[in-house]
Amino acid sequence: MSVLVVAEHLRGQIRDVTRELITAGRELGPVTVAVIAQDPGSLVDAVNIDGVTEIVTVTIGAGEFENDTYQAAVEALIADRKPRVTLLGFTVNSMGYGPAAAVKLGLGFASDVHGIALEGDAVVATRSFYGSKVNAELEFPGAEGVMLLLRPTVWSPAEGVGDASVAALEVVAAPSRARHREVVEATTSSDVDITQADFLLSIGRGIGDKENVEMFQELAAKMGATLSVSRPLVDAGWMPSSRQVGQSGKTVKPSVYLAFGISGAVQHLAGMKASGTIIAINTDPEAAIFNVAQYGAKADLFDVAEELEKLY
């Protein structure tokens, strides 16, 4: 089964998800990696990994990702190499062009995929629905090719130097209708660096109200923990973004991650599932956070917090 992996890069660096895609791809068959960049040659070595048989470079005008250009390049690559499976990361960039290319080319398509199986010549993809509480197996009857956007951090990053051949594909893309201007750094605040903390006490939407933030701040201080949060608390302006754990926040790996009222959405788990010991308190015993936690309690977070307060 031929596989096309589209490498992802930012500011001249191949992103980790690319090596994860290579791991997933080489389990299916020979892997071609596409490098779409202003100077693709500078990125070739980074994707010449064990299991990659070919690297195809596409030179584009833009210095960073632009969705129209990527779409044109990936469509040309698929037309030329005819992969059975095209693998992209389930990332912000892929969200901007993957579904467009797939619907245009009539490919089977699924995103946030966390499992792939081959049945003869057919691809079966596994993904979750309903707050990650149930899984579904998806099939793609009739489709000549399939595009899958894979959930980051599920497959381990591929390692080992490969001996891929390198080829170039000429793609004539129309001027992009959405043009990259600049990458803006997140505003650095003088607040704490949660990535350095050994013990994070993390609160989510389950705390209900802004007024309750303070009591958890105090509990964290008493327990010797640093307070971190899930995204809704930052969206609501209750806490600064420097405290946010997850895909669009910080990736953390403390010895202990103690979560109160966090459901365990994929984008949150992406930022904390490598923590040493995860303990979660949630009134919903089926919350997805319990899939990654070592210890859990089905309980009201306020009751538990109150009791913890007494112990410190």
Binding site: G96, A100, F109, S111, D112, Y130, F199, S255, Y295
Partner: protein, 250 residues
């Protein structure tokens, strides 16, 4: 200024689950409907554009009669009118095709979707819709700088790790809106009552075209080891947590 907002009524699963007889979906009795969180931010953004530039906010959803509740939530926030397209699947291509027909006829200046629907987490419908409408698009937008009369807008796309990609985009365009871009307003009781009375324009989807995928089986995943659940009173749970923390932090 006309903005079309695509609205989805999502379904939330509680702590019990049964599947339909064919095993392809969760039994609807176990699912509670809600307005997709991302779509409330998209609606708010459209309302703010209207407040600044005048014009109209049009809502579109694909779904059953029951999904009109989500439309009425957004009507109560202040949207002008709503269209429901009857009977389409959840797969993002079928939904996008059904939406495309209706949205195209509206000739909007901007089309807003949510980044993702919370029950399916596909982050695909808006981008597929843009392709079918042959419009430029930007995904995961946290800021929209739109000038009346201008042919371009400047938007911020939120990348991983908190980085922002600032993009200049030709309009009309499709934007998928990220949470936190604004503060969705609450509807007051009167507005909610009034929204109940609004007539919703119901259309049929033309159908056709291959779906993105077909579900062949839905099931509760094997949790493997899973978490060890701590039983007992809150005091007992707290004591156990304290001892685990102490043990792990040496």
């Amino acid at each position: 200024m006309k903005t079309v907002v695509c609205i989805k009524q999502v379904l939330q699963l509680g702590d019990e689950v049964e599947f339909t007889d064919d095993g392809l979906d969760v039994d609807p009795d176990y699912l509670d409907p809600a307005l997709n969180e991302w779509d409330s931010f998209a609606t708010e953004e459209a309302l703010q554009l209207r407040e600044r530039l005048g014009g109209e906010v049009v809502l579109v959803t694909c779904g059953s009669k029951a999904s009109e509740a989500a439309l009425r939530r957004c009507l109560a926030m202040g949207a002008d009118r709503a269209i429901r397209i009857e009977g389409v699947d959840r797969d993002p291509f079928s939904v996008a095709r059904a939406l495309a027909e209706v949205v195209s006829a509206e000739n909007a200046d901007l089309v807003l979707c949510g980044v993702q629907s919370s029950d399916a987490v596909q982050a695909a419908t808006g981008t597929a819709l843009a392709e079918l409408l042959d419009l430029p698009r930007a995904a995961v937008v946290t800021k929209v700088d739109y000038d009346a009369g201008a042919r371009t807008a400047v938007v911020d796309r939120e990348l991983e790790g908190g980085l922002v990609d600032r993009v200049e985009i030709d309009t009309p365009a499709v934007l998928t809106i990220q949470t936190g871009i604004n503060e969705p307003r609450y509807a007051n009781l009167r507005a909610i009552k009034q929204a109940e009375q609004v007539e919703i324009d119901v259309r049929n989807a033309a159908g056709g075209g291959a779906p993105a995928y077909r579900v062949r089986k839905m099931f509760v995943p094997d949790r493997g080891e899973g978490a060890e659940m701590i039983d007992g009173s809150p005091a007992e749970i707290a004591a156990r947590i304290a001892s685990i923390v102490k043990e792990r932090l040496v």
